[in-house]
Subunit: 138 residues, 3 copies
């Protein structure tokens, strides 16, 4: 087992940050040839998924998330806490904080058009996001 | 590897039940210091995710799920089986039944505002829900 | 650890293909008694989840996915690439490419009404989809 903490700094709400290279590097460092790479983001207003890292489809994804949690509706979370990030929590809970990918022949195995991404969902910009990367196997 | 079956009893549709303490206890019992904690709920009308366990945001999450599967539309599942829980199956399939979190220094690693929760999505109340918790590592 | 590549051929957009038997077979072949079964689909326009494999509820799930990514709206991905599958990428990123289930007494552990499914989300029919199945444990 090999563990590495990845750190990502986001600029603004809706940022989608490609972390595939950082995960590939962790896989190399682990020297594990056959196994799994697990990722977990330690924040309730960020999430992890895979998507083709292409500006058009990233904006399409943001639009879809705004169907679930629009900007312009009242949130009970905001009313209680005055945070303004009710929509961020909702999106993060639905996309989810964890992702596991296979490792084979010492490489991260994923499709050509399938990048690993952090979704910055908080309304407050400039956040440092921690992701625990755990590589297990042989 | 350490395995424990967790049991949760829900009261009604939409219940979100914080199981973080039960998972922490399983991690302690496992005596595993560095590894992963995997959770899986054995039902097609319940799901697992992380969210800040705060009543406001929990009600915001329920509203978002009702966008995907509203109460007041026809469901082909209900027409075929007369179950009334078509919306429950749809929500459960989209949120998902499994979740994996890291374990470090013998503790469950997750953010301060990130609780592990069972979502009771079935229309029929008072259900006993089984979650298999598997802790792997060293 | 035991690894097997599963291959699924889809016919058309929206196909939901039950792969539970293939996963059960891989668990048997692995001879692992207690552990985990991880699945990962290597494509950005397909996804994995669990749902009751019943035609009514499958069509209900398709309707819910079309709320997130309707057929009849413009997609930035389509405008840039002329692909026509912007909605496919969006749905796949929200459902997710990976799924982990427990293995106990040499069997895949999941609920009676909980089948493991590949969601074919691409608009282009007749695709061969690769899923890496990794069984870990003792």
């Amino acid at each position: 087992m090999y563990r590495k903490e990845l750190t990502v700094i986001s600029q603004s709400e809706g940022d989608i940050i490609d972390i595939t290279e950082e995960v590939r590097r962790a896989v190399k460092e682990s020297r594990i040839k056959e196994g799994l790479a697990h990722l977990f983001v330690h924040h309730s207003t960020a999430a992890l998924t895979t998507i083709e890292y292409e500006p058009g489809v990233l904006s399409d994804l943001k639009r879809a998330l705004s169907v679930l949690a629009p900007d312009n509706i009242p949130y009970a979370h905001n009313t209680r806490w005055g945070d303004g990030n009710g929509r961020s929590h909702v999106k993060a809970a639905l996309v989810g904080p964890s992702l596991t990918l296979p490792v084979g022949k010492g490489e991260l195995l994923c499709g050509t058009w399938q990048q690993v991404d952090l979704l910055e969902l908080d309304v407050n910009a400039g956040r440092t996001r921690s992701i625990t990367c755990t590589i297990t196997g042989e």
